[in-house]
Symmetry: C2
Subunit: 175 residues, 2 copies
């Protein structure tokens, strides 16, 4: 199986880093092929802005989704975004590993989601049989792939339980 | 009332920008004092990393929360982070305005939460009466302040409703 491992932790020598190394080793030993997106090591650009689009005219009003759609269709996305899309299309399974910060993903990983999941590719994908209809979850370019999260937290299990003060982890991770 | 308006949209001439301008005007007309954190205009640093701490030794292992705690206690936080904390302490009410991107806040705003809500100030705040106990929600440095979200979406109301394909907006915005 082809596995993409997305890693969003600032320290390689952390528990997260060790888990990642052990996980990749185990997958490779079992004969799987693994590629990695180590977002901090890549200095991933987190902020979605006009700089993502080569055709942004100075002073022009930015509509991010429209520019994203145009860049994807026209093949003018930035190489970092196009590279991650290529990895996602290559993969049969995608693992996303991060520490839970303020009930969600670290900003660098949110910026990977914001920028890589481009219009025309991950959303605003039209149904070939009915161009007026957008494809929904389970129908788009990533259909059939497996996904898995590896999440570490600094809170106790109880505080993230069904009646925990921080909220139930299952609610926090939805969707 | 003193109001801090946090704005996380890349385009001033957007619907969001207009709503923000109208809102601030209305508040000021009603006699309230308003300060703003326009994250894109400020080129807010989204990614929480070792660069946030002056005392990070080259090659030293980074434990973000521990460094955050030390920097807050020692007064060595970066000026951008300390400045936002000062605004939050000044405010009676905090408005946070953003477009819903992938079920959550844009990365730049997540990075504001990750970095500004520092250890020792927003979490890991000990109870003066019992130093072994951490203060929880409603007990910390921001207690008594009002909060409000202004969220725009590109989806229909139905798709974000109780049985909507994108999930119920109330679940998405929890917490």
């Amino acid at each position: 199986m082809k596995v993409l491992w997305v890693f969003a932790h600032p320290e390689q020598r952390s528990l997260n880093g060790s888990l990642r190394d052990a996980g990749i080793r185990a997958l490779e030993t079992a004969g799987h092929e693994v590629r990695q997106s180590d977002l901090y090591a890549m200095s991933w650009k987190a902020v979605a802005d006009g700089g993502d689009f080569a055709d942004t005219e100075p002073g022009a009003r930015l509509t991010y989704a429209a520019s994203s759609f145009r860049a994807f269709k026209g093949g003018t996305q930035t190489p970092d975004v196009a590279g991650e899309q290529e990895k996602l299309m290559w993969a049969d399974a995608v693992l996303i590993q991060f520490p839970l910060w303020w009930f969600s993903v670290p900003a660098i990983l949110k910026g990977w989601l914001d920028r890589v999941l481009a219009a025309g590719w991950a959303y605003r994908v039209t149904d070939p049989a009915n161009p007026k209809r957008s494809l929904r979850y389970g129908e788009g370019n990533l259909r059939g792939r497996r996904g898995m999260l590896i999440v570490t937290t600094g809170a106790t299990a109880a505080s993230l339980g069904p009646r925990g003060v921080a909220g139930d982890i299952d609610d926090l991770l939805f969707p």
